[in-house]
Point group: C2
Chain length 428, copies 2
C-alpha cells in the first residue's frame, strides 16, 4: 500500500483516551463531518479539550469503521489554541438547544447545529444567485440608504452621522434618509432597461417586536420581470426559484439539512409543490373554522387565515392571488374588475411560516398611477419611469430567513441569521 | 430555407426611415448589442422614437451586414410605451458623458454606457462569489447594523427609528447602533469555526466629502483565512481573486468592457500582475520626487506616495507590507521586530485608484491583545475569541467600486454604483 501524508487544522469536537490509544474528532468547518484522528496515547496532552484548536500531521488511511471512509493516524499533534472546558459555554457530548446557544452570538458558530445552519445559508445564497444568473437576470445592488419611504411601509429607521450634531446643520444627505424596507422601486428603475433584474440584500423594519417571526434587519430576494402582463409569469418564477434553490441545498448540504430534520425538527419535510388560488375568501367563508378576524371581502388576510389556507390545501405552498385593490400599495396594478375591484397581487403562503413571498404586477399606466394621490410631489421620478418607454412589468420579494425557516423547520427566525437584530438587542 | 418566428421586446435605440424600409435597433438589456429590425415603411409609426418600448414579431434571418449575425424582418411592431423625444433627457445618436447622465439617476440605466456598467458590475459580483465558492469559503452575511464602532474608524452613521421619539425611551436597540464600516470583526467570529469565510455587502462612512473617490455607502469584499501565519498567504488570495474576477469579467462582458476602454477611457488596460514590497519607505526616500507629506519611518503613506510607488513599479498593482505598528488598529498582529516595530499588515495599491485592498494578520495572542488598552470593556467578546480555541488568522477587504474603477478606468466612483450616496445627495 501507500501512505498519504496529511495535515488537518481544526477544532476538537471529541476526545477519548484509551489505554494505548487516543481518539480525536477534528472539524475544520468545511462540513458537519469531523475527521477521526487516532494517536498513540503518548501524544495526549491536557490541553487537548473540546473546542481547542489543533494542527495534526500524520498519514491518512482507510478506516475500519463503516460510517467514515478514512481516518488520520497522527504522528504529531500541536494545540494552537487552548479552550478551558470550565469557562467554555458548550460542553462535550451535550446537544445544546438553539435557544441556549443563541445566548453566545460570538461562539455559537462552534456548535454543530449553527455551523450547519451557516453552511446551509451560504449554499442557499449561492443557489439564489445561480438561479437568477442561469435565467438571465442582472443583479442590481439596490441602495440601503434611501430618501424614499417606499409604501409608507410601517416603521422606518432613520440615518444621521453619530456624535454631537451641529444644530444649524441640515441632514447629512440634505433630506431625511432611511434604511430601505424594499429594493422594489429601485429595481423598477432598472426594469426600464433590462428584461429581468434582481437584488439580494439586507432590508430593515424598526418594528418594536421580539417575536419569533420578526427581525429589524433581514434579507430579501427581490426580482422584477419586464414585459409581463400575467401574474402566472411571476408565480412561475417564484415557484422555479423556490424549487431550484431547495433542490440545490438538499443536494449540496445533505448532512447539514439532515441534522435539522432529525434533531432540531424531527419529521420535518420540504415539499416544493405549489397550488394557485384566487378564491381564498370563499374557502375561508365556507369553512366551519371560527376565526378571530373577519373574513369578509375587503378585509386583509391574517396569520390565522393564512395558516388555515395552507392546511386546507394539504400543507403545501399555496399562492393567493388578486387581493382587494384598496388593501394594496399604490404601485399594484389595477385589475379594473367590477364590482370586486382587485389588484393583480399575489402572496405565497407556506407551511409553518405563513407569508414567504409577496408580489404584484406594477401599474405601468401613467394615467391610472397619477389618479392615485400624492405621487406628483414625492415620486415624480417614479412617474417618469411611466413617461418614458414604460413597459408592463411585475415582481416579488421573498424573505430569505423565512425561506430558511421553511425548509429547515426552524421555529425562531433568530436562529437562521448569523447576527440577529431586533428591538433591545444588537449584540456585537 | 426555413424561418424562425421571433418576438423581441425591448427599447428602441435607433430609428432610420428610408423610402421603402424602416430600420430599428431594439435592445432588451441582455447585452450591449441591439437587434436590427427591418420593416416595410408602412409599419412606421410616429410613436417609434428613441427610448420607446416595443414588441416586434417577425422572422429572423441571416443579416447581409458583417457586424451582425442576424436581423429581424418585422411583420408587426407594437409600441407599448411611448417616449417623447423632447422631454427625454437622452438624445438619439448622441454620446452623453458620464457626468451628464449622472444627473438622471432613474433613467441613466437606459444609456449604453451605464447599462454596460451595470452588466459588468453584476458579472463582477458573480465572479467574486464564484472565486470564493470554488476555493472553499463560506459566505457570511455580516450585519449592517452593529453596536461596535470597529476600529473607531472615522465617521459613523447612527440608526434610530424615524418619527417623533419618545423622550423617555432609550435607544431602539437599548444601546447606540451604527451602520457597519467593516464586517471584519464579525468575520473573525466565524474564523473560530470555519477555515475560510467571506462577506460581500454594503459598508458605510459618514464622510463629509463629495470627492470622486468617496461614497457614504459602498460595497466591500472581505475575507478571513484561519490557520495562516504569513502575509503571503493573504496576498496570494488577494491576487488570485483579483486575477480570477478580472478574467471572468473580460471573458463574459467583452463588448461592455470594450465600450469603456474605447470610448470612456481610451487606451485603458488592465494588468493583473502584482509585485510585493516591504521597503516602500526606502523607495520613497531614495526618490528625487518632492512630496508634500513626510516620508519618514512612522508616517503613514499618503495618496501621493501610493501613486509614486505604483508608477515606480511600472504601473502595475503593488503590495506594500509591514507598516509601523503604531499606525495600525488594535487587531493587527505585532511582528515584534525591533527596533522598527511593525505590524503584519498589507495594502494593495493599483494604478489610477491607489489603495484597493487593505489587510493584516490578526493578533491571535490573548496576552498581546490585552496589553493594548480599552478592550476589556467594549470588546470582551472579541477577547473571548482568543480565549477559546484561538487560531492564527488574517484577512483583508477590497473596495468593490474601486475595483470596478480600476478595471474600467472610470475616474469618478459615482459612475460605478447604481445609486450613489454621498454628503448632500441621496437621490431616489
Amino acid at each position: 500500500g501507500f501512505f498519504i501524508f496529511f495535515l488537518i487544522k481544526g477544532w476538537v469536537r471529541s476526545v477519548r483516551a484509551q489505554k494505548a490509544n487516543l481518539f480525536l474528532h477534528v472539524n475544520d468547518g468545511s462540513s458537519l463531518l469531523s475527521l477521526q484522528v487516532v494517536a498513540s496515547s503518548e501524544l495526549n496532552d491536557p490541553l487537548l479539550t473540546f473546542g481547542s484548536a489543533v494542527e495534526v500531521t500524520g498519514t491518512l488511511r482507510k478506516s475500519p469503521h463503516q460510517n467514515q471512509p478514512v481516518e488520520l493516524e497522527a504522528q504529531q499533534i500541536h494545540v494552537v489554541g487552548e479552550c478551558n472546558p470550565v469557562d467554555f459555554p458548550f460542553k462535550i457530548k451535550e446537544r445544546h438547544g438553539l435557544e441556549y446557544i443563541r445566548q453566545f452570538p460570538h461562539l455559537r458558530c462552534r456548535t454543530n447545529a449553527f455551523s450547519s445552519l451557516l453552511r446551509i445559508r451560504s449554499e442557499a445564497a449561492t443557489a439564489v444567485h445561480s438561479y437568477f444568473k442561469e435565467n438571465g437576470f442582472v443583479q442590481i445592488h439596490t441602495p440601503v440608504i434611501t430618501s424614499n419611504d417606499c409604501e409608507g411601509a410601517g416603521e422606518l429607521f432613520q440615518v444621521e452621522p453619530s456624535g454631537p450634531q451641529n444644530e444649524e446643520e441640515e441632514n447629512f444627505f440634505s433630506v431625511p434618509a432611511f434604511l430601505t424596507v424594499s429594493g422594489q422601486l429601485h429595481l423598477e428603475v432598472m426594469s426600464g432597461a433590462f428584461s429581468r433584474v434582481y437584488t439580494f440584500g439586507p432590508t430593515f423594519r424598526a418594528e418594536n417586536s421580539q417575536s419569533r417571526r420578526h427581525l429589524a434587519e433581514f434579507y430579501m430576494v427581490e426580482a422584477e420581470v419586464s414585459f409581463t402582463q400575467s401574474l402566472e409569469d411571476l408565480t412561475k418564477v417564484m415557484e422555479d426559484m423556490f424549487r431550484s434553490a431547495t433542490e440545490h441545498v438538499l443536494a449540496h448540504c445533505a448532512e447539514d439539512v439532515d441534522l435539522f430534520h432529525k434533531h432540531v425538527t424531527p419529521g420535518h419535510r420540504v415539499s416544493p409543490e405549489g397550488r394557485l388560488f384566487n378564491l381564498a375568501i370563499d374557502i375561508l367563508n365556507r369553512s366551519s373554522e371560527k376565526f378571530a378576524f373577519p373574513t369578509d371581502w375587503g378585509c386583509d388576510l391574517q396569520t390565522e387565515h393564512e395558516k388555515y389556507l395552507v392546511k386546507h390545501c394539504g400543507n403545501i405552498p399555496v399562492f393567493v392571488t388578486d387581493y382587494p385593490y384598496d388593501l394594496k400599495p399604490f404601485y399594484a396594478r389595477d385589475n379594473q374588475d367590477h364590482p370586486e375591484h382587485t389588484a393583480a397581487a399575489v402572496d405565497l403562503l407556506v407551511p409553518g411560516v405563513g407569508e414567504l413571498c409577496g408580489g404584484s404586477l406594477r401599474e405601468e399606466r401613467l394615467d391610472l398611477l397619477r389618479a392615485r394621490a400624492g405621487l406628483e410631489d414625492t415620486y415624480s421620478w417614479y412617474l417618469d419611469l411611466r413617461r418614458f418607454g414604460s413597459v408592463p412589468h411585475g415582481g416579488f420579494g421573498l424573505g430569505f430567513e423565512r425561506y430558511l425557516q421553511c425548509i429547515l423547520g426552524v421555529d425562531n427566525i433568530k436562529d437562521v441569521i448569523p447576527f440577529p437584530r431586533f428591538s433591545h438587542s444588537c449584540l456585537l
